[in-house]
Every structure is written in C-alpha cells, then in structure tokens.
C-alpha cells in the first residue's frame, strides 16, 4: 500500500525554482532514494515532506492523510522519524538520555513536573540502543562520541517514535566508508524487518545502489528519471547529467557487492 505520496510539490526561493512538480509515492517497507547533483532540490523536497518547509504548491499525504504544511512536531506524531544532514542530538545529555527524551516526547509526557526523567523508559531506550549497536555506550555523553556513532544514536532517536516512515537526509554524510556501509545495512535491515518506509537522499552512490529499492533522480528541481537501480543506471540521460561513465561502473559494482 502507498505509505507516502507527494503530488506536484513546488517550491520557489525568490527567482529560483527549487522544486518543480515533484511527484512520487513510497510503500511500506520500501527504501526510496532521491539522488541528484548539489542544488538539485533534494533537501528542499525532503524538508517539504518533513514539515520544515511549506510547499508553494502540491500536497503530501501520509497513509492517505493530508500532512501538507504541518509543522514537524505534528508530522512526527503521525509516525515519521527523521535524521538530519548534520546530526541533531541533545549534546548535554547522555546517549541513553537522548533516547529517553525521545520516548518521553513520543508518550506525550513532556509536561510532567515531578517524575524523575532519568528513570523513565530506561529499558525501552536500552532496547533501541541495542538495535543500533550503541547499548554499550549508553552512559557516555553524546558529545564525546565519534560522528558515526552520533548518527547511530540519531537513528535510535528517530526510531523511538515508532515511525511508519523514516526520513533520512544524507544519512552517511561525514562518515568513514566502512561506517557508511554498516549504517546503511542497519537501516535497510530495520526497514525490511518492520515494514518501515525509508526516504533518503544521498551523495554516496555505493549506499544508494546497494540498498535502494527505487531511485528518483532530481536535477534543477525536476525529476528526470525514476525506477529500479538497474533502470536508473542504464538511463542515458542520468548517465549524461549526473553519474558519468565511472559513476555508472561504480554503481554496478556496488549492486553486485551488496547482492552477491
């Protein structure tokens, strides 16, 4: 079934058309990648879906419910978890505290005045950290972690909202190659086992072609191609404007490495 549908999304910044008539759909358990050169409108599209930006035209629906122009906190409450290009965590909290905070928010308990926050949702938070492989570091301040580990904590925070849909803006940006592959494999595993839809943007073609079920190619605010990784890789227009020949070969390699 269709989990997320974007229809005719359009956004203009002054004279620049950052997104023009962007239309796509995403099913539960599916991983959909948006790729394209810098300035193609990936983050703009992304932020219109996540509620950070209000579209000038078009609509976004989540499982049939209209969410166009809703603020992020309401989009979140409808079951959308999100990670950011520059990881956003609560730097003064411990790793565990970050996930506990997300669980407190998810359960609508942020206005409690007397409960002890440090004792709430401990087990659930530890279980989430265990899923992303961070349980051993639960008591460390998140500010001390290596960046790749911060990204894992951010994923645990996003999962705390028990999302139906994950929005990940460049999930592997700023990470070492080995960490990237591990994080994407982790995300793909969680998405498939729990039927969570994942929409992600990414510059790392290895990550995209290894894990995406379908790919949208965005150039200058317009979708110029869409389809399975094989179809997109074979599309001459995509090869010309974005991948180039070496990129096409790398994409084939990545697909083979991931699927044997």
């Amino acid at each position: 079934m269709t989990l997320l549908a974007a229809e005719g999304l359009t956004k203009r910044f002054g004279g620049v058309l950052a997104a023009k008539d962007v239309t796509f759909a995403l099913n539960a358990g599916e991983m959909l990648a948006i790729i394209g050169p810098n300035g193609a409108g990936k983050s703009t599209t992304f932020n219109m879906v996540g509620g950070q930006l209000k579209p000038d035209g078009g609509r976004v629906t989540l499982a049939g419910q209209e969410v166009t122009g809703m603020p992020p906190r309401e989009v979140c409450r409808l079951g959308v978890g999100r990670t950011f290009q520059v990881a956003q965590t609560f730097l003064s909290f411990t790793v565990l505290g970050n996930v506990q905070m997300a669980l407190i928010a998810h359960h609508g308990q942020t206005r409690k005045l007397l409960a002890d926050a440090a004792a709430m949702h401990r087990d659930a938070a530890l279980a989430l950290l265990d899923r992303v492989g961070m349980a051993a570091q639960a008591d460390r301040p998140v500010g001390e972690l290596a960046y790749g580990d911060v990204k894992r904590v951010e994923l645990a925070i996003a999962l705390a909202a028990a999302p139906r849909l994950l929005l990940m803006d460049e999930p592997t940006a700023g990470m070492a190659p080995a960490e990237r592959a591990a994080l994407m494999a982790l995300v793909a595993g969680i998405a498939r086992s729990e039927g969570i839809g994942v929409l992600f943007t990414e510059h790392d073609m290895d990550a995209v072609f290894a894990h995406a079920d379908r790919i949208l190619v965005l150039v200058r605010g317009e979708i110029i191609a869409r389809g399975t990784p094989e179809e997109v890789r074979a599309d001459p227009e995509v090869q010309r404007v974005y991948l180039g020949h070496s990129g096409t070969r790398a994409a084939a390699r990545a697909r083979r490495a991931a699927h044997g």
Partner: protein, 617 residues
Amino acid sequence: MEWSFLLVQALSGLASASSLFVIASGLTIVFGVTRIVNFAHGSFYMLGAYIAVTIVPWLLEFDRSPTLFFAGVLASALAVGALGVVMEVLLLRRIYRVPELFQLLATFGVVLIVQDLVLLVWGPVDIPGPRAPGLRHGVYILDQRFPAYELFLIFVGPAVLALLWLLMHRTRFGVLIRAATQDREMVGALGVNQAMLFTGTLFLGAALAGLGGALQIPRVSASAQMDLSIITEAFVVTVIGGMGSVPGAFVAALLIGLLQAFGVLVFPKITLVLVFLLMAAVLVVKPWGLFGKPEAAAGRAVLPEGILDPRPLDLAGKVLAGVALLALLALPLVDAYAVKVGTEVLVLALAAFSLNFLVGNGGIVSFGHAAYFGLGAYGAGLLVTKTGLPMEPALVAAPIVGGAFAALFGFFVVRLSGIYLAMLTLAFAQIAYAVVFQWVEVTGGDNGLVSVWPSRWAASREVYHYLTAALTVAAIIFLRRVIHAPFGATLRAARDSAQRADAIGVDVRTHRWLGFTLAGAAAGLAGGLYAFSKGSIDPTLLGIPLSVDFLSMILLGGIQSVLGPVAGAAAFHAVKDFFMPLTDHWRLFLGLSIIAMVLIFPRGLAGAWASLRRRPA
C-alpha cells in the same frame, strides 16, 4: 484641536525621532559587525552630553558663534568615539567568542563603571548646557511657536542617514561593515584585518552615541540617569527596526517618535504602553523586526552553555546543602541583623534560582527577571495597602501576578532566541518599570508603597524568617525537582537542539512559554516575600540594576550547576551587604567584579567546588 497644533506636535515628534535615530544607528551598526549588544552605548550617549557641557561653554567664551558650538559638539562626538576604541581594545576584543549572556553582563559592567566615574568627575548635580548660538529663537509655524533648534534637529537624522549611506556604499570601510553584518566568518576568511574593522566600528558607533548626547545639551541637562533611559529606547528602536539594519532603525525611530508625540495627546500617562503595543504588533508579524534577518543558528553542534546533564547531589553536596540550611535556620540565635540578612538571602536565592531555571536550564537568557520579582512585590503590596487584605492572600497573589505578567510578556519573548530574546526581555522589564514609576495614583510612583506589613502572627523578624525559609526552600526544592523531571529535560533538549526537539514531536515554543511563566511565578513569590520583609516597595525592584544583580548571582554561583545560583545569591548578597556601606563606589567595584568574573572565573563558585572535589585526595 487645530491643525497648527497637530503640525507642531508632529514636528516635535520628528525632532525626537531624529535624535533617537542618531543614537540607535550606532548601536545597530556595532551589533551588526560584532554581534555584541553594547549596553554601554547609553553610557557613550551620556558621556557625549557631559563632555559637551564641559567644552562647548569653554569654546563659546572665545566667540559666541554657531561654528564653535557645532565644533564643540563634533569634538565631543570624536572624544566619545576614542573612548569606544578604548573599550574595544581593553574589553570587547576578549569576549567576541563567549556566550551572549557574558557579553551583555560585561558591557553592563562598563555601564556601572562609567556611572561612578561620571559622578567622580562631574559630581551628582545635573549640568545644564548652553543654548545654540543662532538657533535660540522660535520660528512661527501657522501661528504656533516652535524652537528653531528642534527644527534643526529634524534635519540631523536624515543627514546622518545620508552620510552613513555614503560611508556604507562608497568607502571600503563601509563595504566591509556591510559584509561583516551579513557574514562575519566569510569576511574573516577573506583575509580582512578584523581587529581594525572591529575597532573602527566601535569608534563609529560610540561617536554616533556621543553625537546624539552632545546634540541634546540645549534641550536637556547632562545627568547621571541619562544612560539607562536612552538605552532602553535605543533597544526598542533596534528591535523594531531589525538588529543590524540602519534603515530599519530610521523607520522605527520615526514610528516611535510620532507615536509618542501623538500618543501623549490621547493617553498622556501611558505613551510607553503604546510603544509596547507597537513593538508587540511588529514582533508578532515579523519576529526579527521590520528589516531584520533571522539569526543563523541552525546546524550548530557545540556543547551549549548552561546546566549539563544534572546529576543528583553526591554525599559531600548533600552535607554542604544540609549545613547551609541549618545555618540559615540557626540565624535567630546570632542577632537581629543576621536574621534580616538571612531573610534577604533566602528571597534572593529563590529569585536567582528561578532565573537560572530559565538561563542555565532553558537557554532563555532573560535580562529583565527583576520585572517579575517587582510585579510580584507590587501585586502583594497593592492588595494589602489598597484593599486591606492581610498578608496570606497577598502571598498567594504574588506568584500569580508574577506568573501572569511572565505569561503575557513571555508569549512574545519565546518567539525569539539568543540575543534578540535577551533584548526583548529587557525592553519589557523597562516598560513595566516605567509604568510603575509613572502611574503615581496607584503605585505611588518614585516613592512606592509603604506599610506593607506581615500579619500579626508573623510580625516578628524571627517568625517571618522561618516563614520565608519554609516558602523559599519549598519553592527551590520544587523547581529543582522540575529540572530533573521530563519538563525540565524538555527545556534542556530544546536548548540543545530546537530542530531535534521539534522532530521528536515537542512543541518547543509552548514549553518555553510555560517555563518562562513558571520562572516568573517563582520570582513573583520571592518579590512578595521581599515586600513584607521590608515593609515598603519602590520601582527599583523592577529595575535593570536588580536584574543584573540576579544575573551576577547566577554567574557567581555558576550557571552550569543546579544549586550554584543559591550559593551565588548568598555570596553576592553577603559581599554587597558588607562592602556597600563602606564605599561610595560600589558600582565601580561591582562593574569591575562582573568583568573580572566574565573574563577569568566564568564557571563560578560551583565550578570551583567541582574542581576541588575532582582533585585526587
């Protein structure tokens, strides 16, 4: 009303607007480049007036010519510009990278120092200035007499605007100022000598303030209260116009000048309320002012300033807190004076703790926390003196009044962040102060209210001390509990990353608003308790100096700790109580101490305690 009268009223509004713009333009230029809101800008204005009333009469003894008069005014402005350079080199240079709370406090330290120096040099008596030769007469406009000097002032603002435009668009220095206002990092990366740029900007900004002050001498006497009254108006102008925007300051100054000129006809007593309504209306529609741009803060990934993951007290901490509490309760065994100081410490500790609930825990730097303290005191005091109700309902009313005003002002405050938020809290506090000061029939104005006494059972100092101890300690324990509870954690989370908090489903603005209201209610309770301990209240309870005292307490105690502000309040008040009677220069001493704390001791007493505890035995 006749048309001629309205015209004259409009002209006098334009004259005020013009003067206000000259001053505010300097503030906004300095902010644009250095990102520091310079409290001492009002001090530069005051110095401009004092220097002018000193050198202009001396010049006029040679020849009573307009040329010498204006040469004196310009020389005063340049002299103040030089003082701005001194301030930049000695102080500002060291604090460009520290959190904004520390910047504001440090520049306020300069305000205190200048106030005492002005008294030392020029004495406490207001000094009237000479009138401008050639502009002493009145001009008749539709049969209404209008002072020629005011007419001249109307043209000064646009002239300064034109000169600033030329400077900004036709000189390299001006282009650099505009570039730095847009993107300071990039200007630095391009290899521009930033030290020179910043020093030059401070010269320009201070000289504009000095010019504004020097031009006022034919209209008002130079006095030691000029600094804080003008800085509030200048803050309001820059907030409405958009911080960093010179044209914004011009438009905002015009709006405020005309609003005050005509407002005084309709509501003679409450022109300030009109200014408040204008500011509120602008900020609801455009939170960054008419011509302002949002602060670029997204994507930040540095550890925030303030309370980090609060831990429960360890054994030594518990022992220390217990001993301090026992000592406070044992004070009646010492003497009556110790009881008086002890009661004050308890009240101030609650006020400081509630402030750090906002600043340290929520990252909401309130520069006007005394407003809620003072409004709580007035709420209680008015109830007792005007309606004859006893102390008990008045002490219930105090936190309600403090909380209600915090909710009203906070509704606007939490729409902003960082330095914009601090300025707005300050502006609201000054407006509350001015209303209490001006509304003589109800509040008693400058004299305040007297015979605000406790009920008979609590009339003795000792009993009142225990009553205060019970209420303040209970309130502090409650607030401390809230800090550890989900609500406190949510405020810290929103402080660390508002974007992340939003994405996990937190309504950041509403939580901040509730936090602001809660802190205001706690400060209101402290104010009510203070009123009954003194028996009288006056407008200084809402003033900027008391807000700064509160901030100094949490700075001294350590904003990174939960209980540090309590220790800070005790230490601050003990030192003030001991030294103030001994010296005529308390403000000088306090100003220097604040600057020293910011520069060398930013983690306060709690920081010192923590490093003592961490040292291996």
